[in-house]
């Protein structure tokens, strides 16, 4: 007989096979006993989500959102910012629930203290991270509320929607790429970035300043700081603007984008985005 079929081989095959069989039965029984029953709908919902795992919904990731939605058995109170209304609608139709319409949001930088408007008085040469710079000092321009320009927000963006503008020293947000996940909002040590309503045709009006110092003090460091004069508040007919601590804030829920406030601002701190250019006649009237 050849060595292949000798006794040792035979015993090995039989004993190992027996051990394997017993182990398989034990495993089968254990698996039966400790089986985790997962709702198949979770997988279904997860598949519809964008799989960005950005945390914009406030949960740990897309799977967590799917679990939460299925557990709640409704869509109210849940929103996936990168997916937007389309994704929520898809989930709604797949599961047979109602989806709430949510206004699309976008991150907005509320500081315009560029190198031109807030010229640097000192030079910062420590670690290039806003978290440290914020703890250390007021900033190169001297404004204790303004952008530090180290780019922590840019690093935090998972959608490539931000970059630093070398000339102004401020981050730039690309509206089309921004999904309003809020990562940069959380990262900014000075809370400069805010999520605001994207607005019709991407049009927005906002105060590009968060300085709460007295007007004169704020202006000393930055030419385009809000001085809290209240002119915009008087101009607004919709009660959308409030001035607190020498700082105006435009409520995006109330604002009708009438464009009355930007021209009255003495420091041009109110920005209007993506509007058509004003007619000349209007411009002349403003100056007069």
């Amino acid at each position: 007989m050849s060595a292949l079929f000798n006794e040792i081989t035979l015993f090995s095959v039989i004993s190992l096979g027996a051990i394997g069989g017993v182990a398989a039965i034990i495993l089968f029984l254990v698996a039966q006993k400790f089986r985790v029953i997962e709702d198949p709908r979770i997988d279904k919902v997860e598949e519809l989500l964008p799989a960005a795992n950005c945390g914009g919904c406030g949960l740990a990731g897309c799977r967590a959102l799917a679990e939460a939605i299925v557990k709640a058995e409704r869509l109210e109170g849940f929103h996936c910012p990168p997916g937007g209304n389309d994704v929520m609608q898809d989930i709604a139709s797949a599961m047979g629930w109602e989806a709430e319409e949510a206004d699309p949001m976008v991150a907005v930088l509320r500081c315009n203290g560029s190198r031109e408007f807030a010229p640097p008085k000192v030079r910062y040469d420590s670690a290039m991270t806003c978290a440290f710079a914020h703890a250390l000092f007021a900033g190169e321009g001297g404004c204790p509320y303004g952008c530090l320009g180290c780019g922590d927000c840019v690093l935090s963006c998972g959608f490539d929607a931000m970059h630093m503008d070398k000339e102004t020293g401020l981050p730039v947000i690309i509206d089309d790429k921004c999904v309003a996940c809020g990562a940069c909002v959380k990262e900014c040590p000075r809370n400069i970035i805010e999520l605001r309503k994207k607005g019709k045709k991407n049009r927005r009006i906002y105060v590009s300043c968060i300085n709460e110092e007295k007007g004169g003090v704020a202006r000393k460091n930055c030419k385009v700081a809000c001085i809290g004069c209240g002119k915009c508040m008087k101009e607004c007919r919709f009660d959308a603007i409030r001035v607190e601590n020498f700082l105006a804030y435009i409520d995006y829920e109330q604002c009708t984008l009438c464009r009355k406030c930007p021209p009255v601002c003495p420091t041009s701190a109110i920005h209007e985005l993506n509007f058509p250019v004003r007619k000349k006649k209007e411009a002349v009237k403003e100056e007069g």
């Binding site: 000192v122 040469d125 420590s126 991270t129 978290a131 440290f132 000092f137 001297g142 204790p144 110092e213």
Partner: protein, 437 residues
């Protein structure tokens, strides 16, 4: 363990302490100490006299603040402080130099102190004395030994391990007797019978002087220490003098020690024996290109620019002005900021000296590891802090870091290790506070 040897550059060590006249206007921040800011007790328009209480430190860890000049309070408002942020301050316009009654401004030495321990601590609190080494921890808090603990040694820090600074050095030479009396008062308050003054070997004159004086004061001994940075850090000093190790996260009282600076001992003497609040301090103004490196006795609230002018003006090649020592100090944004209770030095760096090399990648040379006085791994902590792996940071002992800056000094790749660790420390501290509710 660890430590670095930066060039000493003690330019002003032979310059005796010079008294500066009060400036025209002083700005006295209400938060010059560690802890809760003081609450102002004067109003705009009030006339104040030098030594008058202008702000009360009501919380347990807080300190009183006194007017350092006589004159009129022109405003109580937010004023830019050393960090560039605006803090509540009292601004006084100087008129004459009248002192509050009861303050003994005579130079004669008073040795006997009839107060008991509790009275001494109260007096120190009343006079607003804080740690003069730079950390500005309210001194009266240190005087009260917590229940269940017992102090065996009072340790007096005369090390002055920061390069350039010479304020403590000069103080020991010129006010040695007063410091000795201050130490005996502190010993009485703490109920200890042994005090050790630690002085680095690079100050032989101060060492000899203090040794001679100590013979007349029972219980006080003077020890020479190896020159090394940071030899003057609390935990390192205790280890060097008594060979006791303070456990991680604990205070020196855990091993029966209380550590005070020589400057604090002098302030305690003035507070208890002369009834004089902490309204002036010795500040070293130095730097390789400064015309006249000096040690000035200045009123709290004097603008830094006045000090630099008195030392020969700002040199043309000035690159940075540092508040504090070159290792731990912070660069100033503005020269009009006031001198506070914690300002031990004003240093002017030349452009060449203030240059920071371009940051490069870590080459794993482990030099930061060998020099870290707390036995931490700075390169690892910096990376973990940067990546926000806070739990790991905590496990690696980030909270033990005392921010001495040795790692940043030694790093051949020019990595701002300490800066990253500070961010991590802030975040870990916040995490711990949240966890403890």
């Amino acid at each position: 363990m660890g430590g670095v040897h930066p060039p000493e550059k003690k330019f002003a060590e032979k310059q005796s302490i010079e008294r500066l006249d009060p400036p025209k206007m002083v700005v006295i921040p209400l938060s010059q100490h560690l802890g809760v800011p003081a609450v102002p007790v004067v109003e705009k328009g009030d006339q104040v006299r030098c030594g008058q209480l202008i702000a009360k430190g009501e919380a347990f860890i807080s300190a009183h603040i006194h007017a350092s000049v006589s004159g009129k309070v022109v405003k109580i408002d937010q004023v830019t402080d050393t960090s560039g942020y605006r803090k509540m301050s009292v601004v006084i316009q100087v008129e004459g130099d009248e002192w509050e009654d009861g303050i003994d401004r005579d130079e004669t030495l008073i040795k006997e102190c009839s107060l008991d321990a509790g009275e001494i601590a109260r007096k120190i609190q009343e006079m607003g004395v804080v740690g003069m080494g730079g950390a500005t921890f309210p001194s009266h808090v240190k005087m009260m030994v917590p229940k269940g603990k017992k102090a065996t040694h009072l340790i007096i820090n005369g090390v002055e391990c920061e390069p350039c600074l010479t304020a403590d050095h000069r103080l020991m030479i010129e006010k040695g007797e007063e410091i000795m009396v201050g130490i005996t008062i502190q010993m009485k308050a703490l109920g200890v019978d042994k005090a050790i003054i630690g002085i680095e070997n690079n100050k032989p004159d101060a060492l000899a002087h203090m040794k001679k004086l100590a013979k007349n004061y029972p219980g006080i001994s003077v020890e020479a220490l190896k020159v090394k940075y940071p030899q003057g850090a609390e935990k390192q000093l205790i280890k060097a003098l008594l060979n006791r190790e303070v456990p991680s996260g604990k205070l020196p009282i855990e091993v029966g020690c209380v550590v005070h600076n020589v400057g604090t001992a002098f302030a305690v003497y003035e507070a208890v024996q002369k009834n004089k609040p902490l309204v002036e301090r010795v500040v070293t103004v130095s730097g390789s290109s400064v015309g006249k490196p000096s040690n000035f006795l200045v009123r709290i609230g004097t603008p830094v620019s006045a000090l630099i002018d008195a030392a020969g003006g700002l040199p043309d090649d000035a690159g940075k002005v540092i508040n504090g020592g070159p290792m731990m100090g912070k660069a100033l944004n503005d020269l009009e900021v006031p001198v506070t209770k914690g300002t031990s030095g004003i240093l002017v760096f030349t452009k060449k000296e203030s240059f920071r090399p371009q940051e490069q990648l870590c080459i794993r040379c482990a030099r930061c590891l060998t020099i870290c006085p707390m036995g931490l791994e700075p390169y690892l902590l910096a990376v973990l802090a940067d990546k926000k792996r806070l739990e790991e940071c905590e496990d690696e002992g980030i909270m033990d870091c005392m921010e001495c800056g040795s790692c940043l000094y030694i790093c051949p790749s020019g990595k701002p290790l300490l800066d990253h660790i500070r961010v991590g420390k802030n975040r870990v501290g916040k995490m711990i506070r949240e966890r403890n509710g």
